[in-house]
């Protein structure tokens, strides 16, 4: 998959997340999920998890490259 195609997929997924974030269908729902979590909160927590997955995909298929980039793997000495 080329990077342009990857970027288009990520743009599409981010737009989808933005639409799903505006969960008007949950506005009147007060029933808790798992017995304690308000739907308004549970749905939006799901959006946070989905966002993380989309951004993971972005690092795999749409990450930019730079001439002077030094690839890193894991922690550096400063992280320790």
């Amino acid at each position: 998959m080329n990077k342009r195609c990857g970027k288009c997929i990520i743009i599409g997924l981010v737009c989808l997340l933005i639409v799903l974030h505006h969960d008007i269908w949950n506005w009147d729902n007060k029933e808790p999920i798992f017995g304690f979590m308000p739907v308004a909160l549970a749905w939006q927590a799901g959006i946070s998890i989905s966002a993380s997955l989309v951004w993971y995909l972005a690092t795999r298929i749409a990450w930019p490259t730079f001439e002077d980039d030094e690839p890193t793997s894991g922690m550096t000495s400063e992280d320790a």
Binding site: I24, K30, A40, S52, T59, D68
Partner: protein, 679 residues
């Protein structure tokens, strides 16, 4: 006292960390400001996250969900998960690359170069520093509130007017000094290390807080069931019919109280002692120290026996406003009648509650509370004759508000307001301290972990805070059955009050250290950033690069930081605003400049005149709307029903595009420098 000792130990440890990081300091201004571009993925994630999650995330989110319900997470947390990472990805990585290539340290250096305009710095510098001050204010204010609330009763005789705890002004001052010290010693490297350590501390302690408090409240399901029973609207974003009924009933009863108190004070109404005694005995609810019986019992009696029937419409409206502490009867009203009172007060129709609420609350109500409940107030570790602990001054003020002010009308979340809140997290793209953090990265790949993990980290911090805020609307003391947090409680104090009420002194101390960690992990970056901007964009830029040595530049940066912190500290001594509201205004200002940073990276046609127009439109619209919202005092301010930030961004974008299209392009050299592949 245990809490105070733990907080002191934590602050001492932090100072030790500052001294340790000073050993790693390489002595150059580049190392002081950018840690020599050496920060790897894990520390970049922790410092970016620690910097963006401040008092706003912990104290603000809990207080706001206490007021507005579970929908608060969707307003800013989930949208931030999408937008913050988007900014790291779309702006951060590219700016890091340009910064490393061309030697930028600050945003203004980049804009000067990209827009071929020296004066853009003169325009931007005061705006960016001016917007950082309210951001700093959030942390400084919240640290004072938190430490004061949690240390109530720590002293036996000192600081009685601060409930025998550390005064907020002193607590804020200590926090400022601690952060200043470790920033001074460690620079950016010290800040990144402290941020990482503090982010770990506040995430772990935050989760422990949540587990302990939910257990004390009877478990997850029990806590939520109480909300469903008492305040169902807090579980959703619209209004539950049960809340409307409950509010209508409470408001009706409150009107009777207001009319009775007014008739007593201004119309000479006085019950016969025997009637008053019987009325008090007959009133069914036992309120705080019998106060509800004493006030509401006679009011119900007066209403039932027709004693309030002769109040005119003007009297009835005045009664409501005075009871809600929104109006005081003018001295000459007896002589002048209607002519003496505010012309907005109707004498032809009873004012609705929303009309009453357009009058801002007057100061002085707290003094009334202290006067009424003065006999109960004292050191909270001492006992009253009844065997219960003495009240704090905060409790006396809170009980007065809860028993005298009108009940709050239930309100949902407007879908348009919710939608346009999405613009607020765009502020991350223009935070000068985040720009500086981006440039510390060792490589572009260092950003990957931050981009992916940021939304999950936000969730880990915000979900417990929002749940806690929602639960506190309905949580009651298992023994007395009284609400743990009363109505009209100051939102900024909900989290520390809950922690204090539901955990022991040891845990309360540790959890407070966690809250302070979140606050300080943002303050440090902001302190460092203002110093960097001043030395780089003003001092070095105008005096010449070689005019000062590295050591002198670091000293100049430190002096400027102290001046800004002193200014912020002075502001914090004035009347506090809701942390969440103040935060949203500050973020809105940065967000309004987002189109500029985006266009400067991705739109060749952007010109310096377009940039000037954008900055002026952003600053002008922000100042106008901030003043129109009574300087953040009006927490529900909107423009055309949407968040002000939406209007600001629209105006900025239009001004930038229109002016750029009619003014000359930047030079070919500049375009080649910033858009090499497309030239």
């Amino acid at each position: 006292m245990t809490q105070l000792i733990i907080i002191s130990i934590y602050l001492a440890l932090l100072l030790g960390l500052g001294f340790f990081s000073s050993k790693l300091f390489r002595g150059t201004s580049k190392d002081y400001m950018l840690a020599s571009h050496s920060i790897g993925p894990f520390m970049l994630l922790m410092s970016l996250f620690g910097t963006t999650m401040t008092a706003f995330a912990l104290v603000g989110s809990t207080g706001e969900s206490f007021k507005e319900g579970a929908g608060v997470y969707g307003l800013l947390a989930s949208s931030s998960g999408i937008i913050h990472s988007l900014c790291f990805f779309v702006l951060g990585v590219k700016l890091w690359s340009l910064g490393k290539k061309h030697g930028y340290t600050t945003q203004i250096q980049f804009f000067r170069d990209r827009l071929e305009s020296d004066r853009i710095g003169i325009l931007l510098f005061p705006i960016l520093v001016g917007l950082i001050i309210p951001y700093l204010l959030i942390g400084v204010m919240a640290s004072g509130t938190v430490i004061n609330s949690i240390t109530e009763g720590a002293f036996t005789t000192a600081f009685a007017e601060y409930d025998y705890g550390v005064p907020p002004w002193m607590a804020s001052l200590v926090i400022c000094l601690v952060v200043l010290t470790y920033v001074f010693f460690g620079g950016m490297r010290g800040t990144a290390i402290a941020n990482t350590a503090q982010t770990i501390v506040f995430m772990i302690l935050g989760l422990i807080t949540f587990v302990i408090i939910s257990d004390k409240l009877g478990g997850l399901e029990e806590s939520t069931n109480k909300v469903l029973a008492k305040n169902p609207s807090k579980m959703m974003r619209s209004i539950d019919p049960a809340d409307i009924d409950s509010y209508a009933d409470s408001y009706k009863k409150w009107i009777v109280l207001a009319q009775y108190e007014y008739a007593k004070a201004h119309k000479g109404l006085a019950l016969e002692p025997a009637d008053e005694k019987a009325a008090i005995a007959a009133f069914p609810v036992a309120g705080p120290a019998g106060y509800l019986k004493k006030t509401r019992g006679p009011a119900v009696f007066a209403k039932k026996t027709g004693m309030l029937n002769n109040l005119s419409i003007l009297d009835q409206n005045l009664a409501l406003l005075i009871q809600d502490n929104r109006y005081e009867m003018p001295n000459d009203s007896i002589v002048l009648g209607k002519a003496a009172v505010d012309e907005r007060i109707s004498d032809s129709s009873i004012m609705e509650h929303h009309e009453i609420m357009t009058f801002p609350r007057l100061s002085g109500s707290d003094a009334k509370g202290l006067a009424i409940f003065g006999d109960f107030v004292g050191n909270p570790n001492e006992k009253l004759a009844s065997g219960r602990n003495k009240w704090t001054r905060k409790k006396a003020k809170g009980v007065f508000r809860a028993t005298n002010w009108a009940p709050e009308p239930p309100h949902g979340m407007d879908p348009w307001k919710f939608l346009t809140y999405f613009f607020v997290p765009l502020s991350v793209g223009m935070f000068p301290h985040l720009f500086q953090h981006w440039l510390t990265a060792k490589s572009a790949d260092s950003f990957k972990l931050a981009v992916v993990a940021h939304p999950i980290f936000i969730m880990i911090v915000w979900v417990p805070c929002v749940l806690l805020g929602v639960w506190m609307t309905s949580a009651t003391d298992p023994i007395s059955g009284a609400p743990i947090i009363a109505a009209h409680f100051p939102p900024n104090a909900v989290l520390p009050a809950a922690v204090k009420a539901l955990t022991g002194p040891l845990m309360a101390g540790l959890l407070t250290a966690g809250i302070l960690a979140a606050i300080m992990s943002s303050l440090d970056s902001q302190f460092l950033c203002v110093g960097t901007m001043f030395t780089t964009d003003i001092v070095s830029h105008y005096a010449g690069k070689d005019r000062f040595t590295d050591k002198q530049l670091i000293t100049i940066a430190r002096v400027f930081i102290v001046l800004i912190v002193a200014l912020t500290y002075l502001f914090s001594l004035f009347e506090p605003r809701r942390v969440f509201t103040l935060g949203v205004w500050c973020f809105s200002g940065f967000s309004s400049l987002f189109p500029l940073i985006l266009a400067s990276l991705y739109w060749k046609r952007l010109t310096k005149f377009g940039a000037y127009a954008a900055i002026l439109a952003a600053a002008g619209s922000w100042i106008y709307m901030f003043a129109d919202a009574n300087y953040a005092a009006n927490a529900n301010y909107t423009v055309f029903g949407v968040m002000p930030v939406a209007t600001m961004i629209t105006l900025t974008t239009i001004a930038m595009i229109v002016v750029s299209l009619i003014t000359p392009l930047p030079s070919k050299e500049t375009l080649q420098k910033f858009f090499p592949a497309e030239e």
